[in-house]
């Protein structure tokens, strides 16, 4: 069995875990980052993409609002290339309590959230599809973020500093020697190969799964209540500004424009199992009705895809007898030396994506003490690889790149403007045959046709690289086809159904993939809706 030795082992490759590992690498520690699946495939990759201004919490949770605006300013700087600085509106619709708007503006003042009231007519000029009956509009510095790009930028930075990033490596055991956690045993998802990682400190950054991981370390009472929320992606940007209802936070009150689409979210339903991705029809209906309130005609627009994510809502079952280090109400850092008398093990959970950097900083500051040589945090000033120029992503970026290279830049995915060289480079860099991994890097197949045209092309290109067998290529094709269908079928209606039927003709009619020698086993078709 292979063994690795490191200063810090981070379990969980979401934004928080990658942030912790990035923070550790910048402080000069050796670090290993592991995830049971791909990076940011869990909660981080399953949200709407909003970087909060803090406005959402200005009345309900002023501390969270202060944290958000503080981090909002930092992240726009350090992850500039992953951010589209679209701005945000809080709008008072006829369904919202008009009195809330004054509380909102006061809350923003009290929490340092930049907020300017603008004319509703001006807002409608900027967002023509917005409900014309909005009475008040406030402009705030919301933005959107490409989480996969952010997390992989950090991963590249970690690797450049000698750290190791191991996606698709599940933790199967956490090693303990008396009161000391000494590392973990990993198992590779594809290979089944096991690796023992010996670590001076192990960080449990597994979010909604943090209780499961703490259990493996023999630590009791780390209870994370997964809060399930659904999101629906529309096939284009109905709005170009993040639009929030100006009311106490509730379900279905945000539409976020991100890349080529916009996403409406979300709900908050308690679930027992963080791997429960059931989509309920009643939630879909409610979300579409909520969309109508912000953008009349929402139901006639084209809904492309639905998915769910689970928030990690932390509840400390031991809070009464041990002081937890609740840094804020938003996230929870558990130092198990203090809490449980177990050395070398720290849990970070709760929180929200906007504050992932702060969570990572707090975590590594605690870890640094354990390592005995307190080193300062530099994540607030050090740009992520790719963001050094400090320029934000803009919507026309891919198109302008394409226009400059019409003669030799072959597009593989027209919806998301993914060129062939990008695909080839990503396949080589990730050394993967899983097109869904490539999707997270490049947004391949994430546009209106949901892979109708690019899946065959990408498979053909994949097959041409590095001696992939036809069996492997076919498997990749069928797997990606099934992955795309997973988020499509529970919300398939209207023009997206037309699109799906065209895709059926391509895959089942023209290509006849159903009769490939390696058809996908039915058991692999994951049930995601009721």
């Amino acid at each position: 069995m292979a063994t690795l030795s490191t200063d810090v082992l981070v379990i969980g490759g979401g934004a928080t875990g990658a942030g912790v590992a990035w923070d550790a690498a910048l402080r000069g520690y050796d670090v290993v980052l592991v995830d049971r699946a791909d990076l940011a495939e869990g909660t981080s990759g399953r949200f709407h993409g909003l970087i909060h201004s803090g406005g959402r919490y200005a009345v309900k949770d002023p501390d969270a609002a202060k944290e958000c605006i503080h981090e909002n300013r930092i992240i726009k700087r350090i992850a500039a290339d992953c951010i589209e600085d679209v701005g945000g509106f809080f709008v008072t619709t006829p369904w919202d309590d008009p009195a809330y708007a004054d509380r909102f503006i006061q809350g923003c003042r009290d929490t340092d959230v930049d907020c300017e009231e603008i004319d509703a007519a001006q807002a409608l000029r900027e967002e023509p599809l917005l409900n014309p009956d909005v009475s008040r509009v406030f402009r705030v510095p919301d933005a959107n973020i490409d989480v996969w790009k952010t997390v992989w930028s950090m991963a590249r930075g970690i690797q450049a500093r000698g750290g190791r990033v191991l996606p698709y490596h599940a933790v199967v055991a956490i090693h303990r020697s008396g009161d000391q956690v000494t590392g973990a045993r990993l198992r590779g998802a594809g290979t089944g190969e096991e690796i023992d990682v010996e670590a001076r400190v192990t960080v449990n950054a597994s979010g909604a799964w943090a209780g499961q991981v703490a259990d493996m370390a023999g630590i009791e009472g780390v209870r994370v209540l997964p809060g399930r929320g659904i999101m629906i992606a529309m096939n284009h940007r109905l709005v170009n500004t993040c639009v929030n209802r100006c009311q106490m936070p509730t379900d279905g009150d945000i539409i976020v424009p991100i890349r080529t689409v916009c996403v409406i979210g979300t709900t908050d339903e308690h679930t027992e199992d963080p791997d429960d991705h059931t989509v309920y029809e009643s939630e879909v209906d409610k979300m579409l009705d909520d969309g109508e309130k912000l953008v009349p005609g929402f139901r006639q627009a084209r809904a492309m895809r639905v998915w769910t994510g689970v928030r990690p809502l932390f509840e400390d079952a031991k809070a009464s007898d041990t002081e937890t280090r609740d840094v804020t109400r938003a996230h929870a850092l558990l130092d198990h030396a203090e809490r449980d008398g177990v050395q070398g093990f720290v849990t970070i959970t709760g929180g929200k994506l906007t504050t992932f950097r702060l969570m990572a900083e707090d975590t590594m500051t605690a870890v640094s003490k354990h390592l005995g040589d307190e080193r300062p945090c530099t994540t607030a000033t050090e740009p992520l690889p790719g963001s050094e120029a400090g320029e934000h992503y803009h919507l026309g970026e891919r198109l302008s790149r394409k226009e400059a290279r019409l003669a030799d830049d072959q597009l593989i995915c027209e919806c998301e403007l993914v060129p062939r060289w990008k695909l080839e480079e990503a396949v080589q860099r990730r050394a993967t045959t899983n097109l869904d991994d490539i999707r997270r890097l490049l947004r391949l197949g994430m546009g209106p046709c949901q892979g109708g045209f690019c899946i065959y092309r990408a498979t053909g290109i994949l097959h041409g690289l590095d001696g992939l067998t036809a069996e492997q290529a076919d498997e990749s094709l069928l797997h990606f086809l099934q992955e795309r269908w997973k988020g499509v079928w529970p919300i398939l209606y209207g023009d997206q159904l037309r699109q799906a039927r065209l895709d059926d003709w391509i895959f089942q009619g023209v290509l006849d993939v159903e009769h490939l020698p390696a058809a996908i086993p039915a058991s692999q078709a994951e049930a995601t809706a009721s």
Binding site: Q410, L411, R457, T459, L478, L511, L516, A529
Partner: protein, 423 residues
């Protein structure tokens, strides 16, 4: 009504079913007008004539398998049409291709035996009738094949095609050939226009000949010319000294465009009128009859009145049938009742992409003569019919040809046009 146009029959839809119905009505002496929002599924499909490919196992002989399908699925369009009607429509089609606007271009094959042609991913797919330009791909020929592609065409990957063909027992290899293009995003239509140029294809064949081995036939993506595919295909075969066959790939479909041109020309030559860009937006009814339809086109709305209508507007794929966000299904053209949708609350789709989807068989409800329920002068044809899953069973063109022909013949018989004129 002012500005109302009168015909003996109005056909809605310009896919295979609508164009066949229109052409056969015109040939039967009816004054017919085909209205369509846009071109139909011809431009997306491989343009093979698939009568029955899978039931659900691969079908060797459509004639035998259709009988079994009809017994098992009385709601299938074939159950109402019968095998003889399919065979008659396929014969009519073959003759019209031969007499059509593309010089010497032919379809080959028959409804007794399916031909197995490679798809772009290298699956052997069954079809009854195929363009002559594809016929040499028949797996039964047991030839050694060389699949040829070019990096410039992102919609065809010869190595993957050949590798899967080998897995299916075909002795196949692949080569890539460089071609000069001015931009990287070529599709098969752009290349087909080049193949119409004799000098260009001669140069292509010259470069390809250097890469070929003895005793192998050549499979190319379906791009051997639009205006004169027989000429382009024969020329390339002659220059290479061996059999050459086309392999259908991603849309736009070059052989589908040829098929469209053949059917459109057959309609026009028989005296039928064809209005593209005319979306039917409403209809006038008188009790159980449709009296006229209104189209929206540039400048003004137009009204078309007729004693008979043929609804060949397609299913979900064309948008003629809609599933709305409250999960109700509608015929958006004439508002006719539908059949085949799952009960409210029952699953509409299932999580396994390749399984049959509960929503798959929805269509306009029809009686035993394929007349719309609740509209006695509306015949239904093609993908608008309920009961079939054409892209899975490989029955799309068989249904389109037979139901389009059937609609024309019934209308001609009922409206007293010269007997036998449609045959």
């Amino acid at each position: 009504m002012r500005g109302e146009l009168h015909y003996d029959a109005v056909v809605i839809g310009a896919g295979t079913a609508g164009l066949v119905a229109g052409a056969r009505l015109a040939e039967g002496g009816a004054r017919v007008c085909v209205l369509a929002k846009g071109v139909g599924s011809t431009h997306l499909a491989p343009a093979t004539i698939d009568v029955l490919g899978y039931a659900p196992e691969r079908v060797t002989s459509p004639s035998a398998a259709v009988e079994e399908l009809v017994a098992a699925r009385p709601d299938h369009p074939y159950a109402r049409l019968g095998f003889d009607a399919i065979a008659e429509a396929v014969r009519w089609f073959s003759e019209r291709v031969a007499a059509g606007p593309l010089p010497e271009y032919r379809y080959v094959g028959d409804v007794e035996r399916n031909i197995l042609l490679p798809t772009a991913v290298g699956v052997l797919r069954p079809s009854a009738l195929v363009p002559e330009t594809m016929a040499a791909g028949d797996a039964a020929s047991r030839e050694r094949v060389c699949i040829v592609g070019t990096r410039s065409l992102r919609d065809f990957h010869p190595a993957l095609c050949a590798a899967n063909l080998r897995r299916a027992g075909v002795d196949a290899r692949s080569v890539d050939i460089e071609i000069d293009v001015d931009r990287a995003d070529q599709n098969s239509l752009g290349l087909a226009r080049r193949f119409d140029d004799p000098a260009w294809r001669a140069a292509f064949a010259g470069r390809l000949a250097l890469k070929l081995q003895a005793h192998e036939s050549v499979g190319l993506p379906a791009m051997l010319g639009l205006r004169d595919p027989h000429g382009a295909w024969s020329d390339v075969q002659h220059r290479l000294g061996r059999a050459v066959f086309e392999i259908p790939t991603l849309p736009p479909s070059v052989p589908g465009m040829r098929l469209y041109e053949i059917l459109r020309s057959t309609l026009r030559r028989a005296g039928g009128r064809f209005v593209l860009g005319a979306e039917v937006v409403s209809c006038d009814r008188d009790g159980s009859r449709v009296v006229s339809v209104a189209t929206r086109s540039a400048g003004h709305d137009a009204h078309y009145a007729a004693p008979w209508f043929v609804l060949a507007s397609g299913g979900f794929g064309s948008g003629a049938i809609e599933l709305d966000s409250r999960w109700a299904t509608h015929d958006r053209i004439l508002g006719l009742p539908l059949r085949g949708a799952p009960e409210p609350g029952a699953p509409r789709f299932v999580s396994d992409y390749l399984a049959e989807q509960p929503m798959a068989r929805v269509g306009v409800a029809v009686d035993g003569e394929l007349r719309a329920e609740g509209a006695e002068n509306v015949m239904v044809a093609g993908a608008a019919l309920p009961g079939a899953v054409p892209w899975r069973e490989g029955s799309g063109e068989g249904i389109a040809l037979a139901s389009g022909s059937h609609a024309a013949q019934l209308v001609l018989a009922r409206s007293g046009a010269p007997a036998g004129a449609a045959a």
